[in-house]
């Protein structure tokens, strides 16, 4: 059933487009590249990730670690001495995997990092193409499993916001209800991550998209409609949440280093 085009294959970057087609992949490359570099650096630091009731989202939940936020105490004794330890490394793979396998990001980084294609109607560097049919990209089909983990992370991060409302007076040791800029930073982080996670394409399918007859499952239909509503702006949620989660870490880190002063409203 061949339909071979009579036009010859284009070389890398070849196109008749007159617009600045390279701008979008370049912005994605710089944005995602900067995030990967910063988050890796921040994850490997293993310090300055908490300040009072604030915990950096890169380190939450802190399963093992030296901070008061740790669930099960300090670094476990069974941790191999040769293996670098940071509380972040125990958890960051899950939200990282969620973004890596996200349908939006896939399309974006295939273009920006792999030039597959660099942009619509622009020539590619390779003549072979396997798509997502074989290893390793067939693993992208695990996205829904990362979604389940990401939903748990939303709960944990929401709990972190609750904890960020309780401040310990260093003089008396008493805990009191309050709110600082850091509380708002962490709260906005949960809202943006929630907007991104609850607009996920896999969730849209799992909550009702798998049905052919919505009228027989009104609750699923309502869920599908809600997720679809967020899904329409999935790219926007993805970028806003990506920026803000990094900013949240920067905020907590700079407060912990004493470079920024956390303003308390009450």
């Amino acid at each position: 059933m061949s339909a071979e085009s009579t036009l010859s294959r284009r070389s890398f970057g070849q196109t008749m487009r007159a617009d600045v087609w390279w701008a979008q992949p370049l912005v994605v490359f710089l944005g995602l590249g900067a995030f990967v570099v910063y988050s890796t650096w921040a994850a490997l630091q293993g310090r300055n990730y908490y300040f009072g009731p604030y915990l950096s989202p890169f380190y939450s939940p802190e399963i093992f670690g030296p901070s008061p936020h740790s669930w099960f105490g300090a670094k476990p004794v069974w941790w191999p001495a040769w293996l670098i330890f940071s509380p972040s490394l125990l958890v960051l793979w899950a939200p990282g995997g969620f973004r890596l396998t996200c349908y939006y990001y896939r399309g974006a980084y295939y273009k920006a990092f792999w030039a597959d294609p660099p942009a619509c109607t622009v020539g590619e560097p390779r003549s072979t193409y396997l798509g997502e049919r074989s290893f390793p990209l067939i693993m992208q089909n695990m996205h829904r499993y990362f979604l389940y983990l990401a939903l748990l992370f939303i709960l944990v991060l929401a709990h972190d916001v609750w904890k960020a409302l309780w401040f310990v007076d260093p003089a008396t040791g008493r805990t009191s209800f309050g709110m600082g800029v850091g509380t708002l930073v962490l709260a906005v982080n949960v809202v943006l991550l929630g907007g991104y996670t609850f607009g996920c394409h896999s969730l849209r399918h799992l909550i009702g998209g798998f049905l052919d007859q919505f009228s027989k499952s009104p609750a699923c239909y309502r869920g599908y409609a809600c997720v679809s509503c967020l899904n329409r702006r999935h790219m926007l949620w993805a970028w806003m949440s990506l920026f803000w989660v990094a900013f949240s870490d920067v905020y907590v880190r700079l407060c912990a280093l004493g470079a920024w002063h956390d303003l308390r409203f009450f």
């Binding site: 059933m1 061949s2 339909a3 071979e4 085009s5 009579t6 036009l7 294959r9 284009r10 196109t15 008749m16 487009r17 007159a18 617009d19 349908y103 939006y104 896939r106 399309g107 295939y110 273009k111 597959d116 294609p117 619509c120 109607t121 020539g123 590619e124 003549s127 193409y129 798509g131 997502e132 049919r133 990209l137 067939i138 089909n141 695990m142 996205h143 829904r144 499993y145 394409h201 896999s202 849209r204 399918h205 799992l206 998209g209 798998f210 052919d212 007859q213 919505f214 009228s215 239909y221 899904n231 329409r232 999935h234």
Partner: protein
């Protein structure tokens, strides 16, 4: 009168070249108007397919300044006229002459897709009843005018020539319209994965970008189909859940 230069591909399967034509432009003109004017005045043998001039027949597909567009829906006021406007045939299909390509591969692909298979009529008058919320989703896919711009822009066909392994965005929409139809009982997931190559789509969203009917091809058709394929082939927990539900259902009845 203001003028603009149109750099039009002239040739056939054996070869060709771009030729420049200067023509007058006026307010409200679209690329197809300019092509018709050039055809009438300078190049009577310029081959170009068109029909409705209203963006509904899908005949005048071409590449304007490198992007797949309907010529009748591309206003000259949207284009930078200080430089020549390039007009080429769509590139995913064999060229016949000038701006005309042979898109018959698409019709052969369509014939191979499993047809609509409704469940037995269940209304007292021997027909069916469907609720609006059940058909809202597939109605979007019915807007397709088969201009094949999405097929043209898809790099799996355009660059990698997977004509024997991938059916392209147009027919993934078609399969989605059937697969998600509230009355349909046919299962097309095995074909989608095996012979229709849904796994080749790497979600560039170029098809959505060029669709003149603004169908959300990737988000509303291709990704939901990919998820249905995941249900059946790549999700062991989902498979187990379905099996348990089926067992529970059969036990209860």
């Amino acid at each position: 009168m203001k003028t603009a230069v149109f750099r039009i591909w002239r040739g056939n399967a054996a070869g060709g070249e771009f030729r420049d034509y200067e023509t007058g432009v006026s307010e409200g003109m679209v690329v197809l108007d300019a092509i018709h004017h050039i055809q009438a005045t300078e190049a009577n043998d310029l081959a170009c397919r068109w029909n409705c001039k209203a963006g509904k027949c899908g005949s005048c597909s071409a590449e304007v300044n490198g992007m797949p567009r309907l010529m009748c829906m591309t206003r000259l006021s949207e284009l930078p006229l200080d430089k020549p406007v390039t007009v080429e045939p769509i590139k995913a299909f064999p060229l016949l002459k000038d701006l005309i390509t042979d898109v018959s591969w698409n019709f052969r692909v369509k014939k191979k897709i499993k047809k609509f298979k409704p469940r037995p009529p269940d209304a007292p008058d021997g027909t069916w009843r469907m609720q609006q919320e059940d058909i809202d989703r597939v109605q979007e896919f019915r807007k397709c005018i088969e201009c094949f711009l999405c097929q043209d822009v898809c790099h799996v066909l355009r660059d990698h020539r997977k004509y024997d392994e991938f059916i392209g965005p147009r027919f993934l929409i078609y399969v989605a319209a059937l697969e998600m139809h509230p009355l349909d009982t046919e299962d097309r997931l095995e074909e989608l994965r095996e012979t229709q190559g849904i796994g080749y789509c790497n979600i560039t969203k170029c098809c959505t970008k060029v669709c003149p009917e603004s169908i959300h091809i990737t988000d509303n058709a291709i990704i939901p189909l990919k998820e249905r394929v995941v249900d059946d082939y790549y999700d062991p927990l989902g498979w187990l859940w379905k099996k348990m539900r089926r067992k529970k259902g059969s036990g209860g009845s």
